[in-house]
Every structure is written in structure tokens, then in C-alpha cells.
Amino acid sequence: MLEVKNLNAGIEGKKILKGINLKVNAGEVHAIMGPNGSGKSTLSSVIAGKEEYEASKGDILFDGESIIEMDAEDRAHKGIFLSFQYPVEIPGVSVTNFIKTAINETRKAKGLEDMPASEMLKLIREKSELLEIDRKFLSRSLNEGFSGGEKKRNEIFQMAMLEPKLAILDETDSGLDIDALRIVANGVNKLRTADNAVLVITHYQRLLEYIVPDFVHVMVDGKIVKSGGKELAYELEEKGYDWVKAEMTA
């Protein structure tokens, strides 16, 4: 589904990603772990289509098609979803209005009519229940004054509404207490099918106890330096990132 080939990217002349290779198939959960500043969030932004980053080398294929020159909204229409580490506050646009717009814009891109209001309402009800979101919350301005947990739950709610093929969860566990973490992870797990995939970007192993990965990749200084199964996450938790770094220099 997703294939990252020797991706080199940076911002304002500074190199951040230095030859990333990654292959994610439908039905799989991949975790990318790494210390702060290793380039994890840059990788997710580049896959989602943030224009400030410049890819100097390599390619990103999605369902076999190169998306590296594509606009962010076109990538979204193809089924890529990025859950932000720091979701942006948009005062004046309610959660409901925002998600309605996002769904109908995506449908428009696929040549479909707007979703009928009744169907939309039903879907909103269903997905908000899945994430234990209060109905009142939906009429509030998007992310404005939301707690950390509310912001992340709202991200996964949007993911549930949009049903992407590939969901990239960028530090979704940061700022979450254990209850919120359980709700968010439960939501993600319920949305998993044989046809979609999840890429979890995280610093800690904690989230991976709830969203269990098939593959774990360790990223250090813009490169994936080690890949393995879920047991690699435990090993990292135990030994710390210095262990990988030490292995690298050895």
C-alpha cells in the first residue's frame, strides 16, 4: 500500500530524512519509534504532503502511484490520513461542520454527491459513540480550548468518519491519560480491517500495548536503523535508545 523509497527530505536546506525505506501492506500495523529529533514527525508530515518540506531524493508510492508531487488534499482523497501531534485550533468552525466539509469535499473529489444529512448524522452518532464523545462536544469550535485528550479523541473521530486506507498516528499518545489512551486505542483497533493499515509514530512503547504492531522500526538521525517484530518495542523500552545507538557505532 505505502512504499517509501530512499526518501531524503529536509526543510530550509537542513537535511532531516536521510534515506528512508519503508513498506506497509494492507492489514498491517507498523510502529516507528525513535528519540526526539530523529525525524519521525517529519516523515509523517512528508507522507501527508506538507509543502514546507522538500524531498531531494527518493519517492513515495501509494497503491503503486507516486504521490510525492501531490497536494495534501489529493493524498487525503486517495486515503491517507494524518492524526496530528498538535491538532490546530480553528475558532469559528464547529467539529460537525468541519467533518461534514471534509467528507463532502472527499466525495466531490471522487465524483460523488454530498452525503445526505440523515446519513451524515447517523454516521456522526455512531462514530462519536465509538470514541465516547459527548454530543455537545461536536458543536464546539474545532480544537479550541480542547484538553490534550479531547484533541486526540477528536483526531481519531475524524479518522473514523473519513475511513482512510492508511492512518498515520503521530504521537497520538502524548498528553493522554490512561483512560483516554484506552478509548483512543480501542477506537483505532475497531477501525482496523484487512484493507487498511496503520502507521504509529511514537516515542514510548506505552501506546503499542494497546495498538499492537506487526512491525517495529527504530529511527535515529533520519534513518531507520533497526526493524523487527513487536518484541523490539519492549526491548527498546527496557534498554533505551542508547542501546540502538551503541549498536550502530559498534
Binding site: I90, G92, E105
Partner: protein
């Protein structure tokens, strides 16, 4: 002949044809003299530095329309707030249209200024309030000299009309170009309430120049909500001079929605003449082409323990220009004042411009005055966030602009009006979404 000369030469004939008492003649003569001395404001005056009337006063406007016109309600329905019941005071080319209007004398007076100025039973109110709140400036004086028609609203003690009032001015374009000088007097006595919506609309492309004056008196604990919808055609120039006298514990809000017209100047003046007064001034300006909107506000805090809140937002596209000049004066005795002012603007195009200027004159020492002004573009991180959800660049920009402007609507108290303005904003910006309000 330029407009000033034409006005000067028309005045005597106009004055002789009027059937009003001598007191009013004196008021007119004095005002006329003042205008004669001052003339139209020019860019040399600080308050008119960024707004020029030159191109407008060159026009040969008709001052007194002759033809009376009839308009079918269905043809102008869209300019009314028609999904709720309202009182309506409607003028066509400055002349009262009884069949489009709905007035009342049932406990309150919602009717015509021409009757109030000529009938003796209104004299006690006219003597106390007419031309007393308006300050002397050349455009207000010009209006005072020529004014004979407009809305007269008198709400006696402890009364509130059962529904909002709409004041609507329609210009037919029957005259090649027309100057209108409507005059409104609104007196709201203590413990009373009123909600008013005002709109000026020209129906053709013929130029219209409106120099309007509204005097509002808000008595003790009175609540006055005034909404101005300025969404006129490209040929329409509006100078709105509104003067508000507030008495103690009263609350008055003026919302100004400026979405169209060639040139719009709002001179909005609040005078706080008592303690614990709240004054609210809000505005949304969304313009394009070569349109020009100038908000010139004054809040004069003359007594202690009062508040004022100003929140103006502007979105300027193409070669449009905006001005915000917000003056707050706090007298020496006016301690414990909270005065807030904010003016935020988005320039959508490189050719658009805004001149924003706060002016604080504070003579008291125990006051809280804040002012903030921003001029910027749209938030790039918000745009990216929206695009990752599949909302295209253009739509994302529109949605952000909509969100930026929309929160000024929160304080609009008439739900149907709020929905209407919300829709106007969405249309103006090009957001095509079934928005819930």
C-alpha cells in the same frame, strides 16, 4: 455645478416649502450655516485622511426626487428579514412607502419622523431630543439642514415592542443619480428595550449617495440593539452618522455588517453620560473590487465604572481598501473604566489595503484600556491541517475566512438575523456548506 454649490442654492427653496415650527427652522439655519462654512470633509482632515469624497461630490445628484414609485413587495422581499414578524418603516427614494411598512402607535411610537416633526403631540419629545445628541460636524449639519424624513421610534418607560423594527431605504434609480438624507430619531426611555435593523439598498446601477444621521437616546437601564446591513451595489455611497447618548446602566450595541457598496463611511459615536454603562461596537467587513469601507468610531467615557467593547474584523480582497479609526476618550472623572478595542484584518490580495489606527485619550488614572490590531494572511498550519482532511486549498481558505469573521455574530440577539448574516458571509466568501448556526 458641484454638489456643495447645488446644495447651497437649493436650501432656501427647500426651507420655504416646509411646514414646520420656527424652532426647527432655527436648527436648520444654524446647521446650514455650519455646512456652508465647513463644506464636505477633505483628506486634509485627520479623520478623513484615507477616505476621499472627491469623486462623489463631483456628481450632479438630484436632491428632491419627484416621481413616486411603487415597488412590489415580492421584488424587494430579499432585502427584508422576512422569516420573522417585524415592524417596518420603508422608504422609496426617501419617500415613505405606507404599503411596504408596518408602523404602530400602540403603547410605543414606531412611525415617521415627518409626522413627529410636524404634529404637536410629538413636540415634547422633539424639543428634548431632536438634534441634541448629534455632534456638530459638517456632514451631520448638512443632514440636519435638509432632513425631513426618516424613522421615528419612541419607546416610553418600561416598554418593549413585541418584535424587532426594520428601517429600509430603497433607491429605485428613477433619478439618474440621487442624494438621500434620511434622519432617524430613536428614543428609548428607562427600563425599555428595542431591536432595530437598518438597511440601504439601491435597486439599479444609478448612483446613490446617502448621508444618513441617526440619533439614539438610551435611557436609564435601557437596552438597545442596532444592526446595520451594508450590502449595497457598486454605485452606492453611504455615509452613516450615528450618535448615541447613553444614560446610566444602559446597554447599547451596534453591529455593522459591511459587505458591499462603492464607499461606506461609518461615523459611530457613543457618549456615556452615566455610570455602569456598557457600549458594544462590532463590525464585519468583507469587500472586494475597488470597494472602500471606513469605520470611524468614538467612545467617550464621561462617567466612572463603565465598559466599552469594540471588535471589528475585516477581510479585504482585490483592490479593496479599509480604514479603522477607533477613538476612545476617558475623561478625568471617569475612573474604573474598562475599554477594549480590537481590529483584526486579513488581506487576501496584494493590492488590498487597510489603515488601522487606535486613538486613546485617557485623562483618568484608574482605567483598563486595551487595544490590539492585526493585519495578516491566513494561518498556514491551519490550512495544512484542513488539507490533510481532504479540504482543498481554496475551500480551506474560504472556511478559515468564514471562521475568522463568523465569531462576531455570537452577540447578535435575533436568531433569524444571525442565520441571515451567517449566510451572507458564507456566500460572500464562497463557502458552500450547509452550515448550522
Amino acid at each position: 455645478m458641484n454638489l456643495k454649490d447645488k446644495l447651497l442654492s437649493s436650501y432656501l427653496a427647500f426651507q420655504e416649502n416646509l411646514n414646520v415650527d420656527n424652532g426647527l427652522h432655527d436648527i436648520r439655519d444654524k446647521a446650514f450655516k455650519h455646512f456652508e462654512e465647513k463644506g464636505f470633509p477633505t483628506k486634509k482632515e485627520e479623520a478623513w485622511k484615507y477616505t476621499s469624497l472627491n469623486s462623489i461630490v463631483k456628481n450632479d445628484f438630484s436632491l428632491f426626487p419627484h416621481k413616486e414609485d411603487t415597488i412590489e413587495f415580492k421584488d424587494v422581499k430579499k432585502y427584508f428579514l422576512h422569516d420573522i414578524d417585524t415592524y417596518k418603516i420603508v422608504f422609496i427614494d426617501g419617500i415613505y412607502s405606507s404599503y411596504l411598512s408596518e408602523t404602530t402607535h400602540d403603547g410605543v411610537d414606531i412611525c415617521l419622523l415627518s409626522s413627529a416633526l410636524t404634529k404637536s403631540k410629538y413636540k415634547p419629545v422633539i424639543d428634548v431630543y431632536y438634534n441634541k445628541i448629534a455632534k456638530e460636524d459638517s456632514l451631520t449639519s448638512l443632514n440636519t439642514a435638509f432632513a425631513k424624513e426618516g424613522a421615528y421610534i419612541y419607546i416610553p418607560k418600561s416598554k418593549a415592542p413585541s418584535k424587532p423594527i426594520q428601517i429600509i431605504h430603497l433607491a429605485t434609480g428613477n433619478e439618474a443619480s440621487l442624494m438621500l438624507q434620511p434622519r432617524n430619531l430613536i428614543v428609548v426611555e428607562e427600563n425599555s428595550e428595542v431591536q432595530i435593523i437598518e438597511r440601504h439598498q439601491s435597486l439599479t446601477d444609478n448612483p446613490v449617495f446617502t448621508n444618513s444621521v441617526t440619533e439614539i437616546y438610551a435611557g436609564k437601564r435601557a437596552i438597545v440593539d442596532y444592526y446595520k446591513i451594508q450590502n449595497d451595489k457598486e454605485n452606492a455611497t453611504l455615509i452613516d452618522n450615528t450618535h448615541i447618548d447613553q444614560q446610566r446602566e444602559s446597554e447599547t450595541s451596534v453591529h455593522t455588517f459591511s459587505f458591499g457598496g462603492k464607499l461606506t463611511r461609518n461615523n459611530l459615536n457613543f457618549y456615556q453620560n452615566g455610570e455602569r454603562i456598557n457600549s458594544i461596537l462590532k463590525g464585519v467587513t468583507i469587500i472586494e473590487d475597488k470597494q472602500h469601507v471606513d469605520h470611524n468610531t468614538l467612545v467617550h467615557h464621561k462617567q466612572p465604572n463603565c465598559e466599552s467593547h469594540q471588535d471589528y474584523k475585516g477581510i479585504f480582497d482585490a483592490s479593496s481598501t479599509g480604514v479603522f479609526n477607533g477613538k476612545v476618550v476617558v475623561d478625568r472623572i471617569a475612573q474604573k473604566i474598562n475599554a477594549y478595542q480590537s481590529n483584526n484584518n486579513i488581506l487576501v490580495s496584494d493590492k488590498a489595503s487597510i489603515n488601522s489606527k487606535p486613538q486613546l485619550e485617557i485623562f483618568a488614572d484608574d482605567v483598563r484600556c486595551s487595544h490590539g490590531c492585526t493585519i495578516g494572511q491566513l494561518d498556514e498550519s491551519a490550512l495544512f491541517y484542513m488539507r490533510t482532511r481532504g479540504i482543498g486549498k481554496k475551500e480551506a481558505r474560504a472556511l478559515l475566512m468564514y471562521a475568522f469573521a463568523n465569531n462576531v455574530l455570537e452577540s447578535v440577539k435575533i436568531p433569524q438575523l444571525k442565520a441571515r448574516i451567517n449566510k451572507l458571509i458564507a456566500n460572500k466568501i464562497g463557502v458552500q456548506i450547509g452550515f448550522d448556526v
